[in-house]
Symmetry: C3
Subunit: 275 residues, 3 copies
């Protein structure tokens, strides 16, 4: 990508962030118990209005008045799978964009089946690590086996599978890791922001997914929204890591950085390329 | 209120805080998954002894040995409604004060029904934002519709409804927002502490409710306990916001400020008026 | 213990910490909702790979590929007891070490029964406060009644009960408090690190249990692993407390200190004695 294209991309990311802050999209989250607090705070810091609503008795009513839905299977249990399915179906019917985070998709047969079933309900976007995306794309027992919820596959090794998954399912697919990749089956963008210390804080991927949800709530082009969400999250994470003394202070700094991120800093820090 | 009355009020708040720290009331919480950690830490920081116990198999036994009960419907599900009802009924029977936080009361029919049913079980106090209190007070489909769990109504617009709700149900009712109001149906107090950055951190309202719970555990006058709890929380939040660089550090500073709050700082910072 | 023995002990603790960081054991946690985030982060900070997996539909599959299992009954409910039992049985069958944290064991009959049932499934280690260990060891209604989840018994008063419990059940038993004690029924070690401010942060005990889990994942001698886990956690907590301004910043500093702990600091700070 030549420099003028990169400037264009940074301009788009900044405009989308400004739109999130202005419209404060209501983001409905059905997410795991480990990261509920962090993802709610990441959404508030980026300018969105989060709600954590997970009972099958109300998810359909709630998603219909939301601007986006985030579905994350981290601490899966059977009632939650039902609630996720109901919410995803209603989101689709109501034209509400939704994103799937298939946490640990390859870790157990139960988890693989749930992730696969949800992926079949036409998510607008999917975000996972290399092992999770391989597990979703390949749908074989051997593929995508991670180390619990951590990846054993570098994101690069999953890009081709992600591209096929995106093309087959008309979904924006993001693989995050040392470098983040986003594809809609045709275009592929690479985001080189972030910091290795982020892997030592739980739920960073989940928070990234939630932030993408906020961008999906204001932008119909799922590829652009996903790139912008990861770009903002990666830039804030990188700034936070420079200020942090370890994984504890990184979490604190990340929320402060997301909240304070300004145009000049974003444009000076963003490293995104696309074909 | 003239200056000498204000000094009297500050004196009462300080004495109640000192009592919480001395007696360390055991506060039983049935609360949402987003804020469990934060509210437990807010209670510990203010000097209370929190316990998060939510199974129907043990809430009745536990509430009977507690000094106060906090019921919060943030991440509602059917088993939890049952547990909340059982705990509230036993609390009432055992003379244990309890406070209801009707999170997002107007957001869905399910949530409205649950909040209304719990409000009918004679809480000692209720705390919500403007939309939540309107939803509880009006009990009509249209009223109190918030934006998910956020308020669309300034606290001022709910004061009259809160006053009627308090008078009808003999409950202390608190509406929190830019200014916090507390009423028992006759008296109305206004607390002008706090900071707008607090709205960018999840669960601040839930933590305020829990802190009120600690004060209910040491003071039988529910109006005085509710004013004192919100006063201490608002002053600590205001001090924290002055030290914070964003919503991440605000959370950290808030717990430190609650823990360290001394008499001189409290009296110099508190801005409370009542009629 | 003479100085040369103490140096030997510090050398062992350091070597085990280095092994955790090198092997990054996969630690399966079935734990309470209050501390899930903190314990995952404590495990990441110490170098382990945590996963929070609690559905009965997958715990057996997951524990079989893990290096250790942590079972914590803080926010107990019936489905979770079943999942804990299934996971513990499979762990035992698969030779995966597991640790039990009997939170509030004496607080209600329901909790006492659950803790006792799990303790009967041959945990490799148990960690609790004085009241919890007394409740487990004595198995009478009167014994071990805590104040909710807080202890009313100094750890010293539970050492003899812990020694008998350990001998009877061939388990390493740890009692934590102002001083931490570890016994396997024969040996007794005392760790004098930590800081009183840690009692004002929720889930410190739960995080200590999880960190012991990481050490059990790399060391077959349960007594040595338990001593090492508590030693590392206590030293990090002590360093964090020196840097903290209150309970909020203590949590942040603790994760940073666990992550950064080096050989010289560990050896200079550790105060452990054993007979």
């Amino acid at each position: 990508m030549n420099p003028s294209t990169a400037r264009l991309q940074a301009e788009t990311v900044w405009k989308l962030l400004a739109t999130v802050r202005e419209r404060q999209p209501l983001v409905h989250n059905i997410t795991n118990f480990v990261v509920m607090n962090n993802t709610a705070n990441a959404l508030l810091a980026v300018g969105a209005s989060p709600a954590m609503i997970h009972s099958s008795d109300e998810v359909e009513d709630f998603v219909a008045v939301s601007q986006a839905l985030v579905v994350n299977i981290g601490t899966l249990y059977s009632e939650q799978i039902a609630a996720c399915k109901l919410a995803a179906l209603r989101a689709r019917a109501a034209g509400v964009p939704w994103i799937l985070d298939p946490v640990g998709a390859g870790a157990t047969p139960y988890r693989r089946a749930a992730a696969s079933a949800l992926a079949g309900l036409h998510p607008t976007a999917v975000r996972g690590n290399g092992s999770e995306i391989l597990a979703l794309a390949e749908r074989t027992q051997a593929a995508g086996q991670g180390r619990g919820v951590d990846s054993l596959h570098a994101p690069e090794t999953a890009v081709e599978a992600a591209r096929r998954l995106a093309a087959d399912s008309q979904t924006a697919v993001a693989i995050t890791g040392a470098v983040d990749y986003v594809t809609d089956g045709h275009r592929v963008a690479a985001i080189e922001n972030g910091h290795s210390l982020m892997a030592r804080v739980t739920g960073m991927g989940c928070s990234a997914t939630a932030v993408i949800g906020a961008f999906l709530g204001v932008e119909r082009d799922a590829f652009a929204a996903t790139v912008a969400g990861l770009a903002v999250f990666g830039v804030a994470g990188e700034i936070a890591a420079q200020r942090a003394r370890g994984p504890g202070s990184l979490q604190v700094e990340l929320l402060d950085a997301l909240y304070a991120l300004d145009e000049a800093t974003l444009k000076a820090t963003l490293r995104v390329t696309s074909n």
